[in-house]
């Protein structure tokens, strides 16, 4: 009997082993992909100093403005993407702005009037930042989407007796990029200023390899160069930029600021809006500044040091309840800000 029991047990064990052998193989865990960029722990940063601006008084509650066009009762099956504020083409304010806000302006037009993206593209025309300010001051346009006014533009407005209302509607950031091969993950503000003033000249001084730093700049009077001077250098003179001889339109050779070349020794700068999603930038890496990595959240909440904004600017004399003010309120509403994000920008900071 015992023998029989032992045989049965062994047989059962043998069968169990066979079944286990025929079952699923050991699960292979896929290797975790290496993160494209390592993000340092995001500490809340101190509020950096910003250029003096006088933002408009914000409405106490950012409710979407009520449109006179909206029926008194909302249909229950109102589609989620139906804007609560709507304008006809004829009502739509005259708009102008900078080059980089064109897609935003088109998105606003498309959403508010129900026009297609192609129709919006035909309608919207921006004449660049300075011309937009001039048009606003001269009452040739109603609302502009631009960077903050320069001293010259402020003076122009003052001379014309026009007071400008400058309202941030999009967050933006000034970012620094290096080659993905560069070991350095982040720099402090002091190190950035040191590099671009020429005080720091080797990557080993900031935790990298023993390689001279090639700190690329942008052309004089360009938007990026202005941003660098205003947001970063804070009055510290910049060292001479790497240059290259190029043939200008008239055929002569001129010294031009060399463009960033993404070599391992290079550092450059640009705006987050472009760098975030541009083809080819996957071979670059953004640097954290003072331990804060630039992403949509840190740009929007201002914890990334070099944050700035794009603004809607109107004449302060614009009457309360006007279409322009209603449009501005809508832009600042959750609906408007969601559209800002959907269009590829970063929503305005709180």
């Amino acid at each position: 009997m015992k023998k029989k029991i032992l045989s049965v047990i062994l047989t059962l064990a043998l069968c169990a082993g066979l079944f286990a052998g025929c079952g699923a193989k050991q699960e292979q865990k896929p290797a975790e992909p290496a993160p494209a960029q390592t993000q340092p722990e995001q500490k809340p940063a101190e509020q950096p100093s910003q250029p003096e601006q006088k933002p408009a008084e914000q409405p106490a509650e950012q409710k979407p403005a009520e449109s006179e066009q909206r029926p008194a009762e909302q249909p229950q099956n109102q589609q989620a993407n139906e804007p609560k504020f709507r304008l006809t083409k004829e009502e739509y304010p005259r708009v102008d702005g900078s080059t980089v806000t064109i897609p935003l302006s088109e998105a606003f037009y498309s959403k508010l009037t129900g026009a297609s993206a192609d129709e919006a593209s035909l309608f919207i025309k921006h004449n660049k930042t300075h011309a937009a300010y001039v048009n606003l001051i001269n009452n040739d346009t109603d609302i502009i989407f631009v960077t903050s006014p320069s001293e010259e533009e402020q003076a122009l407005a003052k001379d014309a007796g026009v007071e400008l209302e400058v309202v941030p509607i999009v967050s933006e950031a000034f970012v620094f990029l290096v080659s993905a091969d560069n070991e350095v993950q982040g720099l402090t503000h002091d190190q950035i200023v040191g590099i671009y003033s020429g005080r720091i000249t080797n990557w080993k001084e900031v935790g990298g390899k023993d390689v001279p730093i090639r700190a690329f700049q942008r052309p004089v009077n360009s938007g990026s160069q202005t941003g660098m001077l205003d947001l970063v250098m804070d009055g510290t003179p910049m060292a001479e930029a790497p240059t290259e001889l190029i043939t200008a339109y008239m055929g002569e050779l001129i010294d031009a600021v060399a463009a960033y070349n993404n070599e391992p020794d290079a550092i450059g700068y640009s705006y987050y809006y472009y760098v975030n999603d541009m083809w080819g930038y996957n071979k670059t890496r953004l640097l954290a500044i003072d331990g804060v990595f630039p992403n949509n959240d840190t740009v929007a909440d201002g914890s990334y040091r070099y944050h700035t904004a794009y603004y809607a600017v109107i004449r302060k004399s614009e009457p309360e309840g006007s279409t322009v003010r209603k449009m501005l309120d809508w832009i600042l509403s959750e609906e408007g800000q969601t559209l800002v994000e959907d269009t590829g920008y970063v929503r305005a900071g709180k």
Binding site: S7, F123, I124, H130, I246, T247, Y249, W279, G344
Partner: protein, 559 residues
């Protein structure tokens, strides 16, 4: 019993081992076959689809030594094609047509001109008719003279363009290896206003496979799996960077021209460029693939007083062995293939590298500059030889620079000179063209310039004039006779010469030039001639060109 137990135990152990171990037939962590594009020499811009990975050693039995296997060579992601260096001119006949609207011109005191082509010579009439129908479609659409849908054009009053100049052209025609590629444009000008008149332009593009009549999308030009988008996107980004397209410049006024105006351009990025579209417009030329950026590219904005699509030209060499264009021609699709002849392409690609330097850095206005331009794919050995020659030419300029410094009142004068070299690939040849230019040192004297070149074949062997002709052919006598012909032509144009040149000596070591459809020979020596109509001396270099469609082309051995 004991035996039974032992057998069962052994079977149990074996079963347990089978459950815990891996199958010896399948190594652990075996990656998929990596896909890697074949890298041409010195080509940059193409990334392998995946980095090559080695295989982990297979495990047979637990505790046994791993068997190391050599990594298998990567399978190409695409089937390599013949590099597109030359082709056969199609047997189609391109007829040109033009039309000037005299009534419009008289009414508005302006111009309205149209120029287009039609094709004939295909056996398959349906294909021929379809292509000509498309061309007439372009013509008809252009003749509506509508403002093309660029940004902001809803705010443009079409009436401003009534009565303005209008032009329609078929501008480019690539007619090689049974492909036909056309690019046309129409332009409308504002009727009134200050110079420069505002104008709008739009393109038409179409590329056909003459064997099938199919209109080709961009992807149809490349072997399946070839990463052409990456190559094109890289070149587009380089173009946008060169245009400072991300930047808006601070301007003091509304005019686009101001100091340092080279920086402000009319092509702007309004959003991140994310890559070309599948339906991106393009056309082919003898120099390369031209990608069109226009109002369909929402990341781009084109502004200024001439609103037009822009093109980014990419050398065929950039695509190396990924292009399908190098297939040759099928003469059976033509009614008359007798006029078909060889056609050479500009074949070296990669980024064009330009090295410039100033040869004088002193206090005077002595502007001597040196430029070396070569394609990135140029073999390093040839680049070395080019630099040696360029340095030798530079040395010859030094006495001129010193003479400028020592001239009377140099601070009041301006001297210009140059030392340059431009390297290109045409067909199966590399050609370096050298040029020096030295200023006159005395009043009334002329600039003097020298030309020379160096040519190599694909094996990097230097090529001389004799190598261009069939073996045993008396090419020197042939060239001497051709040089005499060109000299006599010059005499007929009002020049005189006080002696009979030694044409055979002039033909001994001619300078060679190679282009798409011809080989040129120019004497390295010069003949002093005098223009008696206008009264000036000149140096004449006798020359001759052998076109590939000429009967004399059979004397060449390079075709």
């Amino acid at each position: 019993m004991k035996k039974t137990i032992r057998l069962i135990s052994l079977a149990l152990v074996l079963a347990l081992l089978a459950a815990c171990g891996d199958s010896p037939a399948v190594p652990q962590n075996t990656p998929q076959q990596p896909q890697q594009t074949e890298q041409p020499p010195a080509q940059q811009g193409t990334e392998p689809a995946q980095a090559q990975q080695g295989t982990e050693p297979a495990q047979t039995q637990q505790g046994a030594e791993p068997v190391k296997t050599e990594p298998e060579p990567p399978a190409p992601a695409y089937e390599p094609q013949p590099v597109f260096r030359d082709g056969i001119l199609n047997g189609t006949v391109i007829d040109e047509h033009s039309e000037n609207d005299e009534a419009y011109a008289a009414q508005y005191d302006t111009y309205k001109n149209c120029f287009w082509v039609t094709i004939s010579g295909l056996k398959e009439e349906s294909v021929e008719n379809a292509i000509n129908g498309d061309i007439m479609g372009m013509y008809n659409k252009a003749n509506r003279w509508e403002i093309p849908p660029f940004r902001g054009t809803a705010q443009v009053d079409p009436k401003d363009y009534e009565g303005g100049s209008k032009y329609f052209n078929i501008n480019d025609c690539f007619n090689i290896n049974d492909y036909l590629s056309l690019q046309g444009s129409y332009t409308i000008y504002q009727r009134d206003g200050d110079y420069p008149y505002l104008s709008y332009c739009d393109f038409f593009t179409a590329t056909y496979d003459l064997r099938t009549g199919k209109k080709l999308a961009l992807r149809d030009l490349f072997a399946e799996g070839y990463p052409y988008e990456d190559i094109i996107n890289k070149r587009v980004m380089e173009y946008l960077d060169s245009e400072n397209a991300q930047e808006e410049f601070i301007q003091g006024d509304d005019e686009p021209y101001y100091e340092d105006s080279y920086k402000e351009t009319f092509v702007k990025l309004v959003a991140p460029f994310k890559g070309i579209r599948e339906d991106q417009r393009y056309y082919l030329t003898n120099y390369g693939l031209c990608v069109v950026l226009d109002y369909n590219d929402k990341a781009i904005d084109i502004s200024g007083f001439y609103i037009t699509p822009v093109t980014v030209q990419i050398s065929y060499g950039d695509f190396y062995d990924g292009l399908l264009l190098g297939r040759g021609s099928d003469p059976s699709i033509y009614t008359d293939a007798s006029k078909q002849c060889r056609y050479l392409m500009y074949s070296l690609g990669g980024e064009e590298v330009r090295e410039v330097k100033k040869l004088y850095e002193g206090p005077y206005n002595i502007d001597f500059e040196e430029q070396l331009t070569y394609p990135e794919q140029l073999p390093e050995e040839l680049l070395k030889q080019v630099r040696v020659k360029l340095a030798a030419n530079r040395q010859q300029l030094q006495p001129y620079i010193r003479a400028c410094e020592e001239a009377e009142d140099p601070e009041d004068k301006y001297f210009y000179g140059s030392n340059s070299c431009y390297v290109e690939g045409v067909g199966n040849y590399y050609i370096a063209n050298f040029y020096t230019d030295t200023p006159p040192l005395t009043d009334g004297a002329e600039y003097t310039n020298t030309y020379s070149n160096m040519i190599w074949d694909l094996d990097l062997e230097p090529v001389a004039a004799g190598d261009m002709f069939q073996s045993g052919f008396d090419w020197q006598s042939y060239l001497a006779e051709k040089f005499r012909t060109s000299f006599e032509e010059q005499l007929s144009y009002g020049y005189s010469c006080d002696h009979e040149p030694d044409f055979r000596a002039l033909a001994a070591d001619p300078r060679i030039s190679i282009s798409n459809d011809s080989i040129g020979f120019r004497s390295s020596g010069r003949v002093k001639m005098y223009n008696y109509q206008y009264g000036y001396d000149t140096d004449f270099e006798p020359y001759c060109y052998i076109y590939f469609h000429d009967d004399d082309a059979m004397l060449l051995n390079i075709l």
